[in-house]
Amino acid sequence: MSTYWPWWAGAVGLAALTVGYTLATDRSFGVSGAWDRVLHWRRERELERTEEEFADEHALTAALVKAGADHFATLAAEPAPPHQSHVEPSSGPPDEPSAAEDPAVTRQRPAPLVTQAALLISIFLGGLIASLASGRFHLRLDMGPGFRNLVTANPVGMVVLLFAGGVLVGFGARLAGGCSSGHGLNGCGRLDPVSIVATATFFGAAVAVSFLLWKVI
């Protein structure tokens, strides 16, 4: 008898946190993306600073354009009533809100770097709380009987395979543009074709390798 959650509780839990995050931030979260940004924090910070400068420039440009338009409208629109002196709705570009107000622009900007680091640290704390609360926390130098029986019982072999597996996970997830949280929960939840293809592919590969480990190796 498994002491883990029943399937429906797990489904509700994973769905609740994904939906909650999306509704709160209007973004998707992805753990491999968080790793990528945190590990390249110098470059990401530079990009954030550049973005902030551009955001300020946009605001400055918008203010200058508005001031100029007001000035010339006052000069040119003497015969017209004052309330018609501004840009007509049918002419020129449509009103553009500033970058800070435009939800589409906000969505396109990546989450701040510090929030990505917070996500990774919080995952650790959440896991620690769960393992302590359930009484499953136990410091050990192996990966448990499952790994020992199915993969290797040799400590050196274990270290080599865990490292190689980790490299494949890190490289593969970033090459595919997401992992089980980004593509799997967030992307498939939005019925995004690229996420459906990626999730089907990585599950298929994991199934094939797991059967090999179980039945052949």
Partner: protein, 138 residues
């Protein structure tokens, strides 16, 4: 919640919930994971698939905006590598973190591997792999 502080709070709450939930489901347990991938025990598979079904329904009801990504050249090879690594090490990018927090100290090696893999991928994409992933960066 769309300010910097709001996003930070959302990430902390989501990270705590994600760590708690995947640990409680059993994703950190290699034997459970292998039973899922070999269909000996559908419990975890149903958790994952059930979550996706719920999310799809809620997003459809709330009309959450879709931002479809492009299926670029890296998706399938990357997903194959990722799935292979997941089956071997028992860890997707979040799982080794909760394995360490459950006391599996060798999972630190998996984390080192992920660090190397992520850095290697960005290096290779910048120099050798001409892959434009468009907006598909999760």
């Amino acid at each position: 919640m769309r300010t910097r502080g709001g996003i930070l709070l959302a990430n902390i709450v989501t990270g705590l919930a994600l760590g708690f939930t995947v640990t409680s489901i059993g994703f950190g347990d290699y034997a459970e994971l292998n039973r899922m991938f070999t269909f000996q025990d559908p419990r975890m598979l149903l958790s994952f698939a059930g979550a996706i079904v719920i999310i799809v329904c809620v997003f459809a009801l709330l009309r959450v905006r879709r931002t479809p990504g492009r299926i670029h050249a890296g998706v399938i090879p990357g997903a194959v590598l990722f799935g292979t690594g997941w089956a071997i090490s028992g860890g997707c990018p979040a799982i080794p973190i909760i394995q360490v927090s459950s006391g599996y100290l060798p999972a630190l090696v998996t984390i080192v591997g992920i660090v190397v893999g992520v850095r290697l991928c960005r290096w290779a994409r910048g120099r050798h792999l001409r892959i434009d992933s468009g907006s598909c960066e999760l």
